[in-house]
Symmetry: C2
Subunit: 345 residues, 2 copies
DNA sequence: CCTCGTTCTGGAACCGGTTCCATGAATATC
DNA sequence: GATATTCATGGAACCGGTTCCAGAACGAGG
């Protein structure tokens, strides 16, 4: 509607002066600045960022690539990022890209090439080197959440360590017959979270001298999937473990629901630990390793905006920020029943 | 990097011709069109939508206002909208605005005034008349999901009818002592879903001649909240109903988990019905009214894009599209035990 | 008094596209 | 064969800002 030319005319100054007055760059006397601001307010002037970005190259908008919206971790990250960006005056443009989806390439070719945003945050999507280079050539900083990308600032938890910690928690309670139920490498996630959690599990088990053959069952990262796997794995009393390390809280809760239905006491007959810190964990009294997705989102935004403020050399910025996890000990884990059938003393 | 002028130079034509060739508007001979397209491909040219929107007024981007990202209904809607928009070449810019949040006004004043999008979809946020007018003055169509806004195309289910249907399902099974556990008017939602579901419940109950004093308990729309309310409401056996109509599946599932922990058999001792069609419903065998949020999102996008294609007069478009719900009968509902203590025959 | 540096302002170019308008060629109409 | 139409193209203006540059006004320093 109203352009800066209108403001300038009303204030009786040139476009250039009006622009300087409103943006705060360059010399403007205090009296004309006030005149211009008053004129702008009078006609309800709001600058068009499109026009400005055409010449400045800055869009005040950042793009987010994310494989899921409806799963807990991702929606939490998203919410926290949106909040942080809004507070800084940035728009957030969302690209929901299931890893290896058919749209994947076209999004990069088309959407990301349009220089519509100042930077990109990739949540749980491993970009290829070519894609990373592409963004760098455009001078667009990139921050990742959920796993290292070469040459990119990344925020993540240490999945190997978290899995090890969870497993060690069960081991320290006296369990030896422990299962890991989680993702396998071939499924929908780009990053190595699945294999890393598996690695951490194996490492802890081997260190404790426990056998791990047949100790892993694949499972989608959802509650219904955990439930179904639970029904099938716990269905046979002879193969039933004394403890399970689930790769996510949703899986863990599905397992607990399945166990309850099968008449298996948690934790007396079966201990269950998850990873996440899901809001449902408390009502199922689930012991879990909290990973605070909102902090990760917040930090990703801060990192990206800092990079926009004062660009660093790419080499320097090649680093991984590891956020801590913390164990929340609830009553889904305990020492196993004495193997001789008595209760533990 | 590369601009349309470069393409034109390489193809040996004028900027105007290159623009016509690439956009498909206006007369261009087939041979020059191919030359231009080849040149564009050769230098990896991608048009800047910012520059284009400056003159066309179209941004190929739409804004979405939504109060939650992490709750099921909203994340489903969001995912489906993103998918539909991406397929049509539109970007989606997200504004996560908890109703009556402090940022609420500034977003409207600032973000929405910057003519950055061609249209707006408001999911579960009731815009004020002033805000609606503002968008209309800017010529930006607006589509709502989740409840009628004056003068705006809206997509929703009939919450009164859905609540009535759910209640009637319980009544038809022979229940009389039915509770409604759901939202109250004063909580965080803008729209009237809460009060409408309550209205439908009361209507069905009164029609059936059932008393409703003390039959409503307020509850946040989450599983943990349903669980806590369930523990407290079902805790006293004397005040326990034979059936509950929960305003959402998450509440219903929380209630079921609470009932199980209290040793209450579902459905023998207590029938539970929800509204949503949540993916967890199946594993808890929850009878529910499915409301298909993805369809709502999809339809909202289709409606908005159609409006952008061929704008209609505001008066004509003032309408509410009511999407159907359907009852999925699982085993969380059944006839009540005979009040005399025997089993029903 | 002249020169220099600082502050302030306006004119004009520019960002990267689209579109209006004029011109010219090819084809159709009478 | 003269006159309309349709098609094809280039030049230039324009969208709404920012920024470069030149020039004016002013006080300070020599």
């Amino acid at each position: 509607m109203s352009a800066i030319a209108d403001v300038a005319r009303l204030a009786g100054v040139a476009k250039a002066t009006a622009s300087r007055a409103l943006s705060g760059r360059g010399y403007v006397s205090e009296v004309t600045r006030l005149k211009v601001v008053a004129a702008a307010r009078a006609i309800g002037y709001v600058a068009s960022p499109n026009a400005a970005s055409l010449v400045t190259g800055r869009t005040k908008s950042i793009g987010v690539i994310i494989p899921f919206i409806s799963r807990w971790f991702f929606s939490e990250v998203l919410e926290s990022m949106e909040e942080a960006l809004l507070a800084e005056g940035y728009d957030m443009t969302l690209y929901n890209l299931p890893a290896s989806s058919p749209e994947r390439d076209s999004v990069f070719e088309y959407f990301l090439a349009r220089k519509r945003f100042d930077g990109v945050i990739s949540v749980g999507v491993a970009l290829s080197e070519g894609e990373v280079d592409h963004l760098h050539r455009l001078g667009r900083p990139l921050v990742g959440i959920g796993g290292p990308i070469r040459g990119v600032q990344t925020i993540a938890i240490d999945d190997v360590a978290a899995a090890r910690l969870a497993t060690e928690h069960l081991l320290s309670l006296g369990h030896h017959d422990i299962l890991h139920i989680g993702g396998n490498q071939t499924d929908e996630m780009d990053f190595k979270v699945h294999s890393q959690r598996l690695t951490g599990f194996y490492a802890a088990m081997h260190e404790a001298g426990c056998r791990t053959e047949g100790a892993f069952f694949p499972c989608e990262f959802t509650m219904p999937s955990g439930y179904l796997v639970g029904l099938s794995v716990f269905g046979d009393p002879r193969s039933r473990p004394t403890a399970v390390f689930a790769a996510s809280d949703e899986i863990a809760i599905g397992l607990i629901v399945a166990a309850r239905e099968l008449g298996i006491q948690v934790p007396a007959d079966l201990s269950v630990i998850g990873i996440d810190g899901h809001p449902y964990a408390d009502m199922f009294r689930l012991t879990t390793l909290e990973q605070h997705p909102r902090r990760q989102g917040r930090l990703a935004v801060d990192t990206l905006l800092a990079e926009l403020e004062s660009p660093t050399h790419r080499e320097e910025s090649d680093q991984l920020t590891v956020l801590p996890t913390n164990l929340v000990f609830r009553s889904s884990t305990s020492a196993p029943r004495s193997p001789l059938g008595g209760s533990p003393d």
